[in-house]
Symmetry: C4
Subunit: 237 residues, 4 copies
């Protein structure tokens, strides 16, 4: 299998995991930078992540136009990926999703912050982007490059950006970490809400976040987590 085929295979698995774990339902998508053409990126055609197959993976130009569409319909919101890959050369993979647990933090003033070491990679600061600030009343979708760039500016150097009344976008140096971070973001959101109900919360310190993020590397627990999630896609939800 070529490097590209292997990457596509991983992207397909990533899509299935996001569906299986409840991060995506019919909506949401995950992309990865093209290994040979870092200005381009790979992303499924418009399909529910749980049902994506290798033939659905399309290649996109930096402006969001497909390289070889062959009749396949792209996701409307591919401009999220265009703009972040452009602004952040360190990012190799991006997930956009509407994970239910995360949405309440997008519509309130409560900052989402890591409370447990496994979740540290979501980062110390998670900004909230409100499309209304610059674009007024819209259908809330990131429908062009200008909106995508505004989102990317709000993301800045952080790992995650929430999107008011919409969902979130997660960045990572690899497909596996983009998937894991998306899952952990959702779990942290739910547990933080529970913890806040019990009283004042002790969050991870900046030093703990930094140290804990290091261990979520390909050589450590991330491999075990990826294998675990992959195995679960063969079980019914």
């Amino acid at each position: 299998m070529s490097d590209l085929d292997a990457l596509i295979a991983d992207l397909v698995i990533a899509n299935r995991i996001l569906g299986r774990e409840g991060v995506c339902d019919a909506f949401g998508h995950i992309s990865v930078r093209h290994p040979d053409r870092p200005d381009r990126f790979l992303l499924s055609c418009s399909r529910s992540p749980e049902f994506v197959q290798a033939d659905d993976i399309m290649v996109f130009e930096p402006d969001g136009s497909p390289v070889d569409a062959r009749g396949r319909q792209p996701y409307l919101e591919r401009f999220i990926h265009c703009a972040i890959f452009e602004a952040r050369p360190d990012v190799q993979s991006i997930v956009h999703n509407h994970a239910p647990g995360v949405i309440p933090y997008s519509v309130t003033q409560t900052p989402l912050r890591p409370i447990q070491h496994t979740f540290a990679r979501i980062g110390a600061d998670i900004p909230v982007w409100d499309i209304h600030d610059r674009f007024g009343d819209t259908n809330m979708l990131v429908s062009d490059v200008a909106q995508g760039r505004d989102l990317a500016a709000c993301l800045a150097d952080n790992v995650v950006v929430l999107m008011r009344g919409h969902g979130c976008t997660v960045t990572a140096p690899s497909i596996a970490e983009a998937v894991l971070t998306s899952i952990y973001l959702q779990v942290n959101a739910q547990l933080q809400m529970d913890a806040m109900r019990l009283g004042d919360v002790t969050y991870l310190t900046p030093g703990e976040i930094e140290a804990s993020s290091q261990i979520n590397q390909p050589k450590s627990g991330s491999v075990r987590a990826w294998e675990y999630l992959k195995a679960r896609t063969n079980q019914e939800a």
Copy 2:
């Protein structure tokens, strides 16, 4: 397959989706206007939605009497459908359900309002109908045309009406949208409750609700959502 047979097939799938997604358990039902006789409507006989089959679909007159019962027992609450199809020519499909997440909003003064764009079609205003106001102590069921018309008057031009201590009724221009709106209503209800726990909530603006509702059309994400939900009915819950 004739248009009518195709519509019946969709209605059967809609029933299964409502069961699979936890909107209906043993109770609840979905109807669609008859394509050739818009005064009539199609509705299953009295059966749990998850187990409805094509032979269970009956045709009803505007007054709720069956056209050709063939021994099949109708749902007691078919008058919900009679009265709304009568009052609202724009409505093509109606779901009545007891989705758990929605019930708390039916017994408190907290308005249910869309917090995320996918859920926008539930509408800006969701009235609560209390059968006790006009009919006093009852078994809470909509058991005749008078009660159905009172419910329809409370629904007015809105998409959804909650029913105090009972459940809700959802209207739509198509079967698929009736199903999707029922599912989104339940998810919005749960997330709104979580968001209110975190602090003051920024709801979608009227303009955002209007613009976001447009995209839930047959040509857009609704198709993907319907295909997704249909595929899931073949998986165990």
Copy 3:
């Protein structure tokens, strides 16, 4: 099939439903009065409800001694059944369970009350029995007839009694209604908690509870609910 065999078959199905629906885990049990000897009752040997089979069903005397044990180990808490069948000739079936949603109401002063018509049969008043009041520090189990009779006295003429730090006991005129009431009790408990979070709750009126309870009869929705739950025991949880 004899009447007794049919009743045993229903009792086995009832056990599986209680396991499938999360009312019982490894613990909890359901009994039914013997059709020919109303002083006796039928109850499984000590086994997790989800795995009970016809051969596990034992017959017990009013004092809790087995009629024909054949080496089968009875449940320790069979005295719950002895005492309630003795005190309440109207009761035909009894479920004892630790359904998670119900336990919080057993350890606080918040009364559990029906908020939706399907749940009306749990009754307007649900007393809480505290074994500590008369028996001091115990292992919390109803281990003899005296404790069972104290529980039955607290139950009085109600349908359900909660047991502090333990669970609940549910009574009914039939196996199907005992199962349905146990499930609805748990769902009502969860929804009431959510509703209380949203604000002041409008509960069913006494008249509505009375009228709604009538419809939970063998000729009405209860049959559909029983068939629904039975069909679900053939699906994975």
Copy 4:
């Protein structure tokens, strides 16, 4: 089957149960003292509990070094087990996990306490260990014997110790009880949170905790619970 092989078989089942019941996901582990060499202990190699098999079980020296690694990679946090087996001769089995329901109690001042008799074995006092107190900013993992001993000192004579921003560690006189206590800890955590929402909570008295813990013995309900959980590992989650 030798005693050792039987113990290994039980340890494998315990791993699967912990995965099936949501106590462990990709992370967490369970150990048991070696039956012939009580200074040593058995623990899987680094693998998600749900997928552990007999060949994965390794033997460890008191200092955490493997007896016969055969290329298998040990868990990084095996020092939790080393230190507790050293400090607590009465402990035969240890579970370390990140069960979601428990984490909120690790980051707030709300003590986790048993509210129902089945959960009594979690103990009257559950200390919270904060790795930051003695080791400052770390990656939160128990990575050496010194950290393990500090954790064991905080555990003292209790059954469970929570770990701030990390998870918990559970001790027991047998594999089955370690598994059951881990599951009950998680359920108690969730129900206690719900109960606190309803009002002031009546917890089990010290005498009730003592008496209820006695019944969780191999001759009583624990056997039924273990058989129940074992049977469930053959069902899809």
